[in-house]
Symmetry: C2
Subunit: 343 residues, 2 copies
Amino acid sequence: MDGRKIKNMEEFATVSGISRPTVSKYFNDPSSVRESTRKRIEDALSHYDYRPNIYAMNQNRRLTKTIGVVVPYLADPFFAEIARNIERRCIDAGFSPILLSSHGQQSFEIDIFESLRSLKPAGVLLAPLGRTSDLTAVERFCEDVPTVLFDSFLPDVGEAFIGSNNDQSISMIVEYLCRTGQAPCFLEMEAPVNPNAKRRHAAYVAAMEKLGHEPHIFKASGTGWEFEEIGYREGLRVLSKNSMPSNTILCSNDRLAIGVLAAAYEKGLRVGIGSGSALRVAGHDDHPFSRFTCPPLTTVTQDYAAITERSVETLFALIDSGVRNASRTTTLFDGHLVMRASA
Amino acid sequence: MDGRKIKNMEEFATVSGISRPTVSKYFNDPSSVRESTRKRIEDALSHYDYRPNIYAMNQNRRLTKTIGVVVPYLADPFFAEIARNIERRCIDAGFSPILLSSHGQQSFEIDIFESLRSLKPAGVLLAPLGRTSDLTAVERFCEDVPTVLFDSFLPDVGEAFIGSNNDQSISMIVEYLCRTGQAPCFLEMEAPVNPNAKRRHAAYVAAMEKLGHEPHIFKASGTGWEFEEIGYREGLRVLSKNSMPSNTILCSNDRLAIGVLAAAYEKGLRVGIGSGSALRVAGHDDHPFSRFTCPPLTTVTQDYAAITERSVETLFALIDSGVRNASRTTTLFDGHLVMRASA
DNA sequence: AATTAAAATTTACGCGCGTAAATTTTTTGT
DNA sequence: ACAAAAAATTTACGCGCGTAAATTTTAATT
């Protein structure tokens, strides 16, 4: 890149000794031109400073190289990690990911659909808000743009859904907790935004009944995405009233569990598997921070590496097959038990 | 939006009864057309489904309505929160923010500069990687695009810098710790990526000497952004060797402190201000999770509401004044002490 | 060397919009 | 009611590239 700046493709075609349509073809797909031609273009590219104008490129193209990545709440490290993985894979595949967060609000999610529509993305990876999503808006969006849903299941929308097998993961940790101590109570949000929460609720009840225990559920009041705060408040309430029928509590997700740990600490209750402990606390998700809680949190991984990988692969397959509205596929990945000191 | 779809501005101009150039003017700046005209356009807009093609719009425009927001590591909730604030403000001001994360790697940061250049953004809010940034790359970028730097200070680049007053915040918490107990040791990373770390180091030494104490610094080995892990490892090391000259440790940031708390827990050391405690731990930043550690973490807020607000305002002023390369301004906001149970 | 297939070139048009200049219409001030 | 100012319209061109069709060049095959 020692040479002068090139202002457009015409000029670049001239200095590289190739015709403009061929250069255009190269930028759309380098492998679509002959080896020797590719080399000459790339030679010129290293001598001159030129990049095609992306706006002009995308103006008439039916299919841009953009991929939309939408998560419900980016300030949650769990989604931030997922987004990071997806972004990486899209770049490696030659796409330009654009990351968008719904910030937990329906209005934002709807705005995002609008923005994405006008970006004409090749495809979208969407983790919807869930219960608070505008279902018809999601539906209409999925009709316009090839969309793979992940994390939060919504009925009858998108080309595919990839998520976690909550039945498996919850029944696994319930069995573990029952085997190693008292049967767990279950703490969840009163009005969970995430559909996974409903599945986990049901899975908990089923697992308990299968093992011959009475399910016992605490519903934390509060809405929004401040899960730690909500878990903390409900934790204080539950522990104060001494209303627990067992010394073990399974939380619907790690962030609630982190709140409960804080509440237990404040109450002076020792948490852990040891004999000197008054309480066992377990979570779900293997949140990035759950290794560093005190005590470290026993939980179940969501195999987000697998989830992101499969989501991205599914979308890519969708994009270059061009097939739409094939039968919707649903893929669920099992979780793994992560035994730490809290339960 | 009951009417049919409009495919371009020409068609929309026809159905709204306004000429296309005027409609174009409206979309560039609604306030630039007469009240009555605006109303007619917005009437048509509510009856017909039309949005201008953003690619065609931006193709020839000197100034797009895009604003780039670049953070060094989005999986850190601290930056996620900041990004959320900035995004909101940009949208409210009629801009389209595009969020990008350097993922802690120089190569990504450089790629981001490339992408942003071709997006021709009106301006960029950049929190650089810091020590690992390619300084000349940042410099060249800032020459091409109006850029406001925040969080991490880099010398002589950008139109302005907005950050935290580390001297003030560190000396404040050192004074607090000395007043309420033993003088603190300081835990930092051996090779911190963030320039703030250097200032905090210096501020710690200065504050200790001013108060007549001997500074004592632990340098945690390890690189990258896994601060909790690094703090945890170094915490184990320090606490095992019993090499601390005092029972109080101030960490360069909250995430290191969270790691130290985990180490102390594992070592069976009670952390807190109470008389029964063996260790006091303090952090810096008021990380979103530090309220929920066990014990809750004593720390110093970074006033990120003020930082984001000022950053955005500065950029907007820059954009609509059109002035470049004015004298660089540096704005630092003071922190506030957050006294919790850990120190 | 002749045949054929593949790739590159030439030519030409269009996309959707920005924008400038000249003109006409509308609004404002008195 | 009239002149001046402001806004809208008409006309026209260009941006940088995608892309189609017809033609020519190059490479692969026998």
